[in-house]
Symmetry: C2
Subunit: 344 residues, 2 copies
């Protein structure tokens, strides 16, 4: 990263802020007025030429003002940005909305809506990863006609059930035996571990197991298979993106929306944010995905009991109000984490 004189930094900051504000390339005259410095446009022009040489700004054509490059934005958010303190009322609102007691799916949807409302961008929240969930308990309930309801208690917040199709009818007490067996064997273990154990056990001892055991294992495996489905996310406020000039041509929008539907690419990007804690920002091409070339993504992981469960964030044009967006994403992540933790 090249070193800049204080003035150059100041100008880059002013230019970027101005450009973010009204989306027009910023000229030397405007900047001179804007910056508050008592410098003539000519001086500014010299400084801008330097910034251009360093690759921090560029001009769309010969005689127009400058706009920040990706590198310019990078420096802006990394070292120049003065992050706004969040208005208490906003925090209050976030907290209020997320503190209602609801199932987590609903909570994430709410969070996504909040993000998109507060930033006027698209909000995104990944569903919690399931890998490290532990199996608390399994219960089986007989339904009519060779069907069994399996209930998988993962925590006091997460319960999943699935309907199994069996080859014969089972009595309640018989099913009770099975679940007892499974709970004894696997209760408290991580789902992935349970699955692995089940598979190996099925392979090793299938011949020797009596019919009951085999069925129990089959059932559990069937349920686990469903429980460990692929990751996903909830999205809100995509339409907000249609308000921005720079995204407003149909082909750009189409690629973006197709990526939203496709999910895999976006998920892959968000997955990278799981490791780093705190707010993380991808500017334009940095994401490595073409459809996001003119977008920035601001993310933060959310946690329960210290473990990162998922990622939330916003997607918007590179020209977004970072100083407002960053604290919102940050706060939402914290508050969502708190809500997930404290729920009784």
């Amino acid at each position: 990263m090249p070193e800049l004189t204080e003035r150059a930094q100041f100008l880059l900051k002013a230019l970027t802020e101005r450009y973010i504000r009204d989306g027009q390339p910023v000229g030397s005259r405007t900047l001179a007025r804007d910056a508050g410095l008592t410098l003539s446009p000519a001086t500014i022009r010299n400084a801008m030429a330097d910034l251009e040489d360093l690759g921090l700004v560029s001009s769309p054509h010969t005689s127009s003002g400058r706009i920040p490059t990706v590198l310019g934005y990078r420096m802006f958010v990394d070292t120049l940005l003065s992050v706004q303190r969040l208005d208490d009322s906003v925090v209050e609102r976030l907290r209020d909305t997320l503190n209602i007691k609801k199932d987590s799916q609903n909570l994430l949807q709410k969070a996504s809506n909040l993000l998109s409302d507060a930033t006027r961008l698209a909000g995104i929240v990944t569903l919690p990863r399931r890998e490290h969930e532990a199996l608390q308990r399994v219960e089986f309930l007989p339904l009519s006609d060779k069907k069994v309801l399996a209930i998988l208690v993962i925590s006091d917040k997460e319960v999943r059930n699935s309907i199994l199709h069996t080859e014969r009818e089972y009595s309640a007490s018989e099913l009770q035996q099975y679940s007892n067996f499974l709970n004894e064997q696997f209760g408290g273990k991580e789902l992935s571990a349970v699955r692995a154990l089940l598979v190996s056990e099925l392979r090793e001892t299938r011949e020797n197991l009596n019919r009951m055991m085999a069925t129990a294992l089959d059932m559990a495996d069937q349920v686990l298979g469903e429980a460990e489905q692929g990751s996903d996310y909830v999205l809100a406020g995509q339409t907000n993106l249609m308000e921005f000039q720079e995204l407003c041509n149909v082909s750009t929008l189409r690629h973006l929306f197709e990526a939203f539907n496709e999910k895999s690419q976006i998920l892959h990007l968000l997955d990278q944010c799981v490791e780093n804690e705190g707010v993380q920002i991808f500017i334009g091409e940095e994401s490595g995905y073409q459809m996001l070339d003119e977008c920035s993504v601001v993310t933060a992981p959310y946690t329960v009991e210290g473990k990162v469960l998922g990622v939330l964030g916003v997607i918007g044009p590179t020209r977004m109000a970072y100083e407002r967006v960053i604290p919102i994403v940050d706060a939402t992540a914290r508050i969502l984490s708190a809500a997930l933790n404290s729920r009784d």
Copy 2:
């Protein structure tokens, strides 16, 4: 509806088909060549002038070809359309995809995808209405720490559960008593009836009821409240709509997509289709919703055991290939109904 000479009908049909094919206003010369009739452009012009007087076609400006009006489309789909017979392979594909055994949520999503894929438009499927579902059984399971898992068995296909927060801990046997009571009282009744009964019973006899009954009713009410959430739909292939010239300006798209997110208006429209059986079509303004002015909606209800559960369909530009779309929507509705019926 005005009566038309055979020739006028033929010309309207040819014109509409042509316009649907390539989206350009159709001129007399083109139509003369296209129609297969050995008529000169001048003759066609006369006939077109008549059609215009009847409000069936219009020209965007003085010297351009004609395009069908909403009325023209209406006559086209009602009396002129030669619906294509569906290719068997397509039916096969529909049937294959919908016959996998999956929970209904998943099935509807699949159906929506199929619709959008097969028509290259946006597919939509409303979630089944819940009103007439009967409560088969309720079970309670103690979780740790003053929490109780309530399981609501609605049918062999639908099970919902929710976690209740109680004021004290309950033993398994105590909970068993509650569920027995509820099952005796309400088993087999419709959810709405159950709810009504509960409310009145709570009001009338609250004072006299012992604590157990009250808790049981509270619990059940809490669960039912969640179960009877508002209606909803699954959507697929919105991005397909971005391919059409006539929808391709950002503001039109925005209104459309906002309506998709909003859901209430679209749902209201779809609700109208529940009553009529078979395929139903709204062309342009006919829907009564502004954001659909340049769109048509083709719907068909799907049923289980003769009862209409929901509606599916597609949304696309008025200029859509009705003769292809209609049988696809029709077939999908039938096949989805069959799949929902036959699932074991």
